[in-house]
């Protein structure tokens, strides 16, 4: 069996498409990563623009000053301190004084005394408002929740009237009450970029690699006429198919791990791993997220759920490959299954949109799942999007792998 898997992997890696695609994708990622590093810039306290590693180093050192957990008393004290800076008449700019900052201060004062507080100020404000948010949700008032999820003004039109018996509100209340307060604050830029960057690259690039490289897995055997020989061999209708499936999953696992390692190593080496224990609520994208997770826990979910999404996509790819007469005809439905769910159909049907959110591309974009809980009511039971994504992906794998096996096994050489 191991020998057969090796041969299937050899077939896969010897294809020109595979080689070119892997090298090009790896190079593209490196360019994107290095590019994002070189273009990262920040204005320091002396109003000098820093770029690249110097900017990261400055940002990290500045934010690290505020690392820790702030009790209500400490948070109030910090906010008072910031307010004092804000209200210091020496720093205020005159009405006609030009400025390039969002505060009422002069640019010199803003960059020197106030800017460093910006991230912690936002987090502390949200932390202070969190109990109020919980009370609102407990009352059944989901205005803030819908506001967070809304993509357009239209989405705000159908907010249900406050109802404490609303099961979504009850579920959210339980989740919010579970969130650890005070938040653990630290420098989390590396985790932020890693979580978002890897989710996107997984959904848009690695998934494309998988469907392009694996779509010939069965279909090429048909189109080249090799199936006729393979299926008349002793192991052609059993071990060979198992080996093909195993090789496909080994391939996607390898590609997944290589890119995960590349991203983790890159962001770890540049931004560092501080902030692993910080609440996700300290990140701008997750300020009112109901999930009690740290940044490192969220990254593990990005890896776990993202990998499951990729496995699901692999299972679908294998099935379509086993049913297609050549790799090109397999690629068309695969590309549609992968990328069509990116179109927002919520204007046409909310139910359709919710279903599409369970397609592999959305499962792999894990960073989009956790900013707010999105629920599915299945026979009176509420499941959040993450749980549904896991359940549906596992079910699809369970269904499509045996179907692929059967389709190749029962292939009939015609024409």
């Amino acid at each position: 069996m191991i020998t057969l898997i090796k041969y299937e992997l050899t077939k896969l890696f010897r294809r020109r498409t595979t080689k070119v695609l892997l090298i090009a994708s790896f190079a593209l990622c490196l360019i994107l990563l290095v590019g994002s590093l070189l273009t990262f810039e920040i204005t320091d306290s002396n109003m000098n623009i820093r770029r690249g590693m110097s900017a990261i180093e400055y940002d990290r050192t500045t934010q690290k000053q505020f690392a820790g957990e702030y009790s209500t008393k400490e948070a109030t004290a910090l906010l008072a301190k910031i307010e004092a800076v804000n209200n210091n008449p020496q720093y205020k700019r005159t009405e006609n004084q030009p400025a390039n900052n969002p505060s009422p201060l002069t640019d010199e004062a803003y960059y020197k005394y106030l800017k460093k507080y910006d991230p912690v100020w936002t987090i502390i404000n949200y932390q202070q408002a969190f109990p109020e948010l919980i009370t609102e949700v407990e009352r059944g008032d989901l205005f803030q929740i819908y506001q967070q999820k809304a993509k357009s003004l239209d989405d705000m039109k159908n907010i249900p009237a406050p109802d404490p018996n609303n099961p979504v509100a009850q579920k959210l209340t339980a989740m919010y009450k579970n969130v650890k307060i005070p938040f653990h604050i630290d420098y989390i830029e590396g985790w932020n970029k890693l979580i978002y960057g890897f989710s996107q690259i997984l959904a848009l690039l690695i998934s494309a690699i998988v469907i392009i490289c694996l779509s010939p897995m069965f279909s090429d055997e048909y189109s080249t006429g090799a199936a006729a020989i393979l299926l008349t061999t002793k192991h052609g209708k059993n071990k060979l198919i198992k080996a093909k499936i195993a090789a496909a999953f080994a391939f996607n696992t390898s590609v997944f791990l290589i890119f995960a390692l590349l991203y983790t190593a890159f962001y770890g080496l540049t931004y560092g791993f501080s902030g692993a224990a910080s609440n996700i609520q300290t990140s701008a994208d997750f300020l009112i997220s109901p999930y009690n997770l740290t940044m490192s826990e969220l990254f593990l979910r990005v890896l776990g759920i993202g990998y499951l999404g990729l496995m699901c996509l692999t299972a679908i790819t294998l099935f379509i490959s086993s049913k297609s007469r050549n790799a090109y005809t397999a690629l068309i439905p695969l590309a549609a299954i992968l990328f069509l769910p990116l179109i927002d159909f919520s204007g046409i049907s909310k139910v359709l949109q919710k279903i599409l959110l369970l397609f592999p591309i959305h499962v792999m974009r894990v960073s989009e799942i956790y900013p707010m809980a999105n629920f599915y009511n299945i026979f009176g039971l509420l499941f959040d999007q993450a749980s549904m994504a896991i359940i549906i992906s596992v079910l699809l794998i369970i269904v499509f792998v045996p179907l692929s096996y059967r389709a190749f096994k029962s292939y009939q050489e015609q024409g």
Binding site: K11, T224, T233, Q414
Partner: protein, 299 residues
């Protein structure tokens, strides 16, 4: 050892490719003769269990071959008409891959691979990628892969396609030495190949078994239907338009024609001993003007 094809029919929509075909095969070499579309390839696919019959069944030792599954495939060697290979594999890798699919352990696979590559004259090319091979070399490799597991049933669809005369002779010798206690079914358009190798010939037309027997007995069926006549070029053209011409020879102003016809085609025509090509034409070629009349000239 008995392979039985029992009333097998295979339909593609309304088209019947194999029509109620029955034959029992024991050890020996069987040559399948038939025109394009006669159902030879379909029949071979049915025998190899990569195509299911619409009706009837194929059994080996009395058991349906589909039920035998892996045990049946273990006895099988198959070279399809369109030999699918992996262009980036070397000949050696390709053989080793198929050997592992055929259940040979590594050392046996290696031994058999090298032995067969030597037999087909590709030992020195074993490390070269198949995509660099000529058509004949690929075809030889295809024949070799079919023999990797010392199959008891060897099915070869157009095995001599693309082989030069010397390679065809080698192929015939290989099959002859291999045929002991095996069922070998082969189809080819090169009638002489069948004539030399086959113990028995099966003639197929419109998916049906037309006749079956050894070359001599089967040729006998057209014993009084092959004629030869030497006529002027003008008369030859007229005969060519009316009858099936199996051969013609130009010399000076005269043309010698070999004609396949039930009745005497010309008053000077004489009956001659038929061969397998005559038989093939008798069964499979409709009367149509032969363009070759102005192309073949033996002075």
């Amino acid at each position: 050892m008995e392979l039985s094809i029992n009333n097998v029919t295979r339909q593609y929509g309304n088209k019947i490719a194999v029509d109620n075909f029955s034959a029992t095969l024991t050890s020996g070499v069987y040559g399948l003769l038939g025109a394009n579309g006669a159902g030879k390839t379909t029949l071979m696919r049915l025998v190899c269990d990569i195509l299911k019959p619409s009706a009837g069944e194929i059994t080996y030792g009395g058991v349906n071959v589909t039920e035998l599954g892996e045990d049946y495939r273990d006895l099988l060697g198959y070279l399809p008409q369109q030999f699918g290979y992996y262009p980036d594999f070397s000949a050696y890798d390709y053989m080793m891959y198929l050997a592992s699919l055929k259940g040979l352990d590594h050392s046996a696979a290696r031994k058999k691979t090298l032995e067969l590559l030597e037999t087909i004259g590709l030992l020195n090319e074993k490390k070269n990628k198949i995509k660099t091979f000529s058509g004949g070399m690929r075809q030889r490799l295809g024949i070799a892969q079919a023999m990797l597991n010392d199959p008891k049933i060897l099915v070869l669809d157009e095995p001599t396609a693309g082989l030069d005369p010397k390679e065809r002779v080698n192929f015939r010798n290989l099959i002859s030495s291999f045929s002991q206690d095996r069922i070998i079914i082969l189809s080819t358009h090169i009638v002489s190949d069948v004539e030399y190798i086959a113990d028995e010939i099966m003639m197929m037309k419109s998916g049906q078994l037309l006749s079956r027997g050894n070359a001599q007995s089967i040729i006998k069926t057209v014993e009084h239907s092959v004629w030869e006549v030497t006529v002027s070029a003008e008369a030859a053209e007229k005969i060519n338009a009316k009858f099936i011409i199996s051969n013609l020879k130009h010399s000076d102003d005269y043309v010698t024609l070999r004609i396949v016809a039930e009745n005497k085609p010309h008053e000077q025509a004489v009956n001659v001993r038929p061969n397998l090509e005559d038989l093939y034409l008798y069964y499979f070629q409709e009367v149509e003007p032969n363009d070759n009349i102005n192309q073949i000239r033996v002075d």
